[in-house]
Point group: C2
Chain length 501, copies 2
């Protein structure tokens, strides 16, 4: 039986009748999932390729893993919340399996499963759907796409610097100039809290949770929550961490550290942290990060050390990264990541140090659209071949074959309505730039008409008078000998491209 | 919470201990699924792009639908067998959903769901995983990839001709010169059987099943099965269709029709079929197919009308297509399709005529590998940057940034072992063509060493003597000023590319 197989439909006339008379199935998308139509996919594919090019230039290799994983591979890898959000099912053998909820756990599995083929150091990229059965909302899907890179086998912060450099290059590659990759380090925060005698894990976590609210609730509310607590807007009490004033002042002044350069911030952090082994280790790592970001040519404004960045700090073991778009803050982080040296230890005795980051492709596309960075495109078709009167369709085929043979994307019009108007409106609906029109008379003379639909559109944009409108449309049409058809179409396409750039 | 989010791992030190001490999870792939490592993915991505280019040149637009569909969307669309093979699960709301088993049913759903945005004529391509919970075997997966095109909105056989032309171009684009797209037509077979008074649907199907075995069991066994039946090799009886001798002779002589051209086969078929309306309609369609295949420039040897092709004939409503590779027959059909005018009627009162085909990507990749058409490539990295002695890693970063800025894919070596040998063996394992080596002395003089690893490999292939081996290796290494590093690397890469072509 064919695996490419399409041989299971419409079992003869019997099935035809069944289909005709059966009650209709409602055509609807599963909740939280999205259908990507050409207008979504065309810019999306360009963005994916641009990102892929960056990843490959940094030496990351493509990998793909299946959507389904053994439940035990996934369970616990992401904590309680993720356990609940798994789409679970059963294999035909009755084994519990589930749809992957991210790309990182499968990557860790691969490292453990193919120690020879994926000998470290190893770096890979992977782009694909992941599933989480949580509550969908605007821009929040149950199936969404992650585009990840991860580097395994090195503890060096220089590799983290490369990840940050890639994040900056990705932003530029997709056309976003105004962005900041915020960088913090779990080790810095540990040294800070340890130095201030916040050593119990539960309290440590509570402090991080409060700091993470800084941008949302403001410094004064954070101060209250680090101390005795406060009332929220509805009057409900928010319990505090109950730190003393001196500790709170110490923490808040650390979070407020700013400087013009990454090295400057490291110096200020070093001065503010209590001396000791932990501080030395954390500062050495931040120094290494800063030096390597400089060596990689990452602009100071594009990667900023941010002592107040607390997101993910309870999960990562070293540097953490997060991207913000100052012109589209409501989209939150479109990329994020960090160092995780323990995940592979789920599978192997010897843990493999890893660092990486994930692009949230759906969110990035939404942000690009919001920022107007992605041009609207509904088609990749460059020329629509139309026939008028009794011109046989095989003539259109011949012309289309010639266009395609010369690298021009050509569609032959095959709609039920065959009027010139219907054919032009099909081209218009998708924004196809050029029409190649085959008429009987022209054909007999070895001629063909070529119409610049983009220019026609522009010229007629301000015309309301019918006759002038028709004339303006005609002005963008030329009738040329077959022999120069390709050149004529190419010139128009180049001209249109020039206009839109 | 971040959708790009990776913030769920290793909840602090507590989690670290859990990971360290917890029993290890066995790293294994779900049965019937496959992990695609770089050596699989690199050629695969090239093949996908080559196919995509062909699809786009014919004016097909990209679309993506979710992996999950409502169960009712899928149930019955593929017949009983497919119903049983669905991976079923439940949405968080308790709705029955399932993983899609092909790309055609979701396409039909889209056409019904977005009548305005996807106004016909509409043609799309889609590439993605599909799932079938059947028995996996060699080259037969439970998750596999289909790469489909479908054109909706026209009954014209000219569109079927375009699909066939695309199949031929796809084969050539991926480097297969020796292939045949076999073409038959449900209407021809209907006319044949109707003319021979085989009119009961069950018998009709039985005949098709027997004809489908032709290549496998040979003409004499088919003759027996069309008649009284026969014994199989184990001695079990195979019941026959019980046609009379005259009918059998008529059918078999029709199946044996051959000619040098597609038009020639149509003429021979017309002569052999009983006269009547059905024959006229079938022949008109085959004529149109033949004329348009000629107009599209499809070589006679690449698309052949095959009256004996019976696969899929009980599912399709018009032309059917199937590809065979004479040099790799064991891979069966790597592409297949046909016209299906009834599928959208599951969702809509008014059916939308469709035709299309599907590339079985996994099977195609296996065939390409078998045919030796795809060069083995384990990396896209062009230059590995290595450091010796106490050269700081930031120097490697600076050099890598320069290489990347000039469009060269560069990896900085970050393995635990830092000897020259370990670094070169990493390059060797992946087949990285060029090493850029930063030594302390060279660095002080503004110099850098560049080593041609491909040439080194070739030169040393036949040397067993240790000293000669070392010397030969040295001969492929040059030390150049930093200023001409990029040119030096580029020259080597171009030279290597020239060698491998």
């Amino acid at each position: 039986m064919a695996r490419c197989g399409r041989h299971r439909y419409m079992q003869g006339d019997f099935m035809k009748d069944v289909e005709r008379n059966a009650p209709k199935v409602e055509a609807r998308t599963v909740k939280g999932c999205q259908d990507l139509l050409p207008e979504d996919m065309i810019p999306r594919k360009k963005v994916v390729r641009a990102i892929e090019d960056v990843f490959e230039r940094y030496g990351f290799l493509p990998i793909e893993t299946p959507a389904l994983e053994h439940l035990e591979t996934l369970l616990g890898a992401g904590g309680e919340e993720t356990n609940k959000e798994l789409f679970r099912l059963e294999s035909p053998e009755g084994d519990p399996i589930a749809l992957r909820f991210d790309m990182t756990v499968p990557f860790a599995r691969l490292l453990a499963q193919y120690p020879d083929k994926l000998k470290t150091p190893f770096r890979r990229y992977a782009c694909g759907p992941v599933w989480r059965a949580d509550k969908p909302g605007p821009g929040r899907f149950r199936q969404f796409t992650q585009f990840d890179i991860d580097a395994a086998g090195s503890e060096s912060a220089a590799v983290d610097a490369e990840i940050i450099a890639i994040m900056a290059e990705v932003m530029q590659a997709v056309g976003i100039g105004d962005f900041v990759v915020l960088v913090n380090n779990r080790k810095v925060v540990d040294a800070l809290l340890y130095g201030h005698n916040v050593r119990c894990p539960a309290r440590h976590k509570h402090v991080l949770r409060v700091i993470d609210k800084l941008a949302k609730v403001g410094i004064e509310n954070v101060r209250l929550e680090l101390g005795e607590g406060r009332m929220d807007e509805s009057g409900d009490p928010i319990p505090g961490v109950k730190l003393d004033k001196e500790t709170i002042d110490g923490l808040l002044s650390f979070l407020a550290i700013q400087a013009d350069t990454r090295h400057g911030i490291v110096e200020a952090m070093r001065a503010a942290l209590p001396p000791g082994e932990q501080t030395d280790a954390a500062m050495a790592e931040m120094d290494e990060l800063a030096s390597n970001l400089d060596a990689l040519g990452v602009d100071e404004k594009h990667a900023v050390f941010a002592p107040s960045l607390a997101r993910g700090l309870d999960y990562y073991t070293g540097p953490v990264f997060e991207t913000i778009l100052p012109n589209a803050p409501e989209f939150g982080s479109v990329m994020g990541g960090g160092r995780y040296n323990q995940l592979v230890a789920r599978f192997l005795e010897e843990p493999i140090p890893c660092t990486g980051m994930s692009v949230g492709l759906d969110r990035l596309m939404a942000a690009l659209r919001y920022l107007g960075v992605v041009p609207e495109e509904k088609t990749i078709v460059e020329a629509l071949v139309m026939t008028l009167g009794n011109v046989p369709v095989s003539e259109a085929m011949r012309v289309a074959a010639e266009l395609r043979g010369n690298g021009i994307c050509a569609e032959v019009y095959f709609g039920a309505k065959r009027s010139l108007k219907a054919q032009l409106s099909h081209a218009d609906r998708f924004g196809i730039p050029v029409a190649v029109i085959l008429g009987e008379d022209e054909l007999a003379q070895g001629m063909v008409s070529v119409k610049d639909l983009m220019a026609g559109k522009q010229q007629r944009a301000d015309i309301s008078d019918h006759d002038t409108y028709r004339k303006a449309g005609k002005a963008t049409q030329v009738t040329v000998p077959n022999t120069i058809l390709i050149d004529t179409v190419r010139n128009l396409l180049e001209h249109d491209r020039g206009q839109s750039e």
